[in-house]
């Protein structure tokens, strides 16, 4: 099956390892990604704090172009995913806005119907491969790994999560890989987004709360589904250690990297060497050795 791939700016920038692993895993699962040509930035959660109607036009241009290609959109960044879904939702609900956007799209020779579906790769894997299907393809089960799934905020919020999907359903992908599912209570709590760069004291605190909880839950790795969460959680671990005097070092893989490891794909294809906190096969034993005495 083929999908229209909307990478978003992150996937071409600091999250190239996420993109590498996404391509590798989709390939291994027999799914095809075709990048949307000439896509533009969706505006993220930032553009709309300066201009409102224009922000919806940015999403609409991408949706209109993807509609022409026919297949469903896959957006691996939860901000892009949420923004595209929000655009679709608002254009359907606010006729005034729709009229303005239609006019602007017509000026550049585009037309938006409003029929295209936007999906996160998690949803694709769950729907088109399924837990059983994934389990059947696992070659190197992640035995002994305590994996805490962290979804972040935007995938679980109003415009997001397509019908019939729940975070609990996504959780089931973890045991399918042979790993132990850690009950991570803060799985949908915000990581602070760009606050780690703008209001550092607050941003670091939000990240620290998540990492600390993961440590308490005795997770070996915290798996993310959003490239910005991925960067936020791993890039500031050193500063957080210095600021709060608590060592919360933990690998933060993107979910397709973890799936790819279980599928037996090479480390290079998954971009594992690009992680700031290394993720290795012997992770579980090492982590056990380091933490068991402290826990006792």
């Amino acid at each position: 099956m083929a999908y229209t791939y909307f990478p978003g700016c992150c996937m071409h920038g600091f999250a190239r390892h996420c993109q590498d692993s996404l391509y590798a895993v989709f390939d291994a699962l027999g799914l095809e990604l075709r990048e949307l040509p000439e896509w533009n930035c969706c505006g993220a959660t930032t553009y709309i704090s300066v201009e409102e109607n224009q922000a919806f036009a940015l999403g609409a241009r991408n949706l209109a172009m993807a509609e022409k290609l026919g297949s469903e959109i896959v957006a691996p960044c939860t901000a892009c995913y949420m923004i595209l879904k929000k655009t679709k939702d608002h254009l359907a609900r606010y006729p005034d806005l729709r009229e303005k956007i239609d006019q602007a799209l017509a000026a550049i020779g585009l037309h938006y119907e409003g029929k295209i579906e936007i999906l996160h790769p998690l949803e694709i894997i769950l729907r088109d491969v399924g837990v059983k299907g994934l389990k059947a393809k696992v070659k190197k089960p992640l035995r002994g790994w305590n994996v805490a799934p962290y979804y972040g905020c935007l995938i679980a919020r109003p415009y997001a999560l397509s019908e019939g999907f729940t975070l609990e359903a996504f959780d089931q992908l973890v045991p399918a890989l042979g790993a132990n599912l850690v009950d991570f209570e803060l799985k949908a709590r915000c990581c602070g987004g760009s606050l780690t760069g703008t209001i550092e004291e607050v941003g670091h605190r939000l990240v620290y709360i998540l990492l600390h909880q993961a440590k308490l839950a005795r997770a070996h790795c915290l798996v993310t589904v959003c490239p910005l969460c991925q960067l936020n959680l791993e890039a500031h671990q050193g500063k957080i250690k210095r600021r709060y005097g608590d060592d919360v070092t933990i690998p933060i893989p993107y979910f397709t990297q973890l799936i790819g490891m279980a599928l037996g794909l090479s480390e290079k294809a998954l971009g594992l060497e690009k992680l700031l906190v290394p993720l290795r096969w012997e992770l579980a034993e090492k982590a056990f050795a380091a933490r068991e005495p402290a826990a006792a």
């Binding site: 930032t46 553009y47 224009q54 608002h90 609900r93 760069g197 703008t198 060497e273």
Partner: protein
């Protein structure tokens, strides 16, 4: 940033700016602010409300009553990371996050924010970059924002940049979309700007908070 305890004051009816509420009501997501129960669910769900000078509940109350200056100069609107937790929880179906966006837009439009405060500077630089090349490049974006707000921070931020660069996760080159596509994008945005007729939306004919507020009663004092 004004702290509420230092700047608390009584407002006379004529000092209240009622058109603020009308503007928020005209925003998609803000239509229902008049049905706000003031229950505080938004603030208790918000992961950032503990750092805010006014919680989202207070902000909505103040918007309804016309405390424009306090709302627009508050620290809280810039802290909102738009995680939508409040919007999901609100029993009255208010798009609290959209209200926060609208307040940020007003503050930026009217130039009411500290000059070196990074959040609005980031938003404006983001816009400039997007319009210029169709996509954003986080390296140049962060660099520009740091140079404009806190150049000294470059001294503490470069190690992270180096680590990302060593791992091939930094794109120093251009990420722009083809020229024709970028022209299209700009034309589309111009058409919208023209149809919006400037940044201000036509306010709806609504009357907000007609009953006399506590401020009038304390006028003599």
């Amino acid at each position: 940033m004004a702290h509420p305890t230092f700047f608390k004051k009584v407002k006379y009816e004529k000092e209240l700016e009622r058109d603020l509420a009308a503007e928020i009501i005209a925003t998609p997501g803000g239509e229902k602010i008049l049905s706000c129960l003031q229950c505080g669910t938004c603030g208790s769900a918000c992961p950032l409300s503990v750092y805010m000078d006014y919680t989202p509940r207070k902000l909505i109350g103040m918007v309804r009553e016309g405390f424009k200056e306090e709302v627009v100069t508050s620290f809280a609107i810039w802290l909102c990371a738009s995680c939508y937790e409040c919007t999901v929880r609100c029993p009255s179906g208010i798009g609290v996050t959209e209200v926060m966006y609208a307040l940020k837009r007003i503050a930026i439009r009217e130039g009411i924010y500290p000059r070196h405060f990074p959040v609005p500077v980031l938003a404006k630089e983001f816009l400039k970059m997007l319009k210029g090349s169709g996509r954003t490049n986080e390296f140049w974006l962060v660099l520009r924002v740091l140079l404009k707000t806190a150049p000294m921070k470059l001294l503490t931020s470069w190690p992270l940049g180096l680590r990302l660069w060593q791992r091939g996760r930094m794109c120093l080159g251009s990420t722009r979309i083809p020229k024709a596509a970028n022209e299209d994008l700009r034309r589309m945005l111009e058409v919208i700007e023209a149809s919006t007729g400037g940044p201000l939306k036509s306010p709806l004919p609504v009357t907000v908070g007609a009953q006399p507020s506590g401020g009038d009663l304390k006028k003599a004092a």
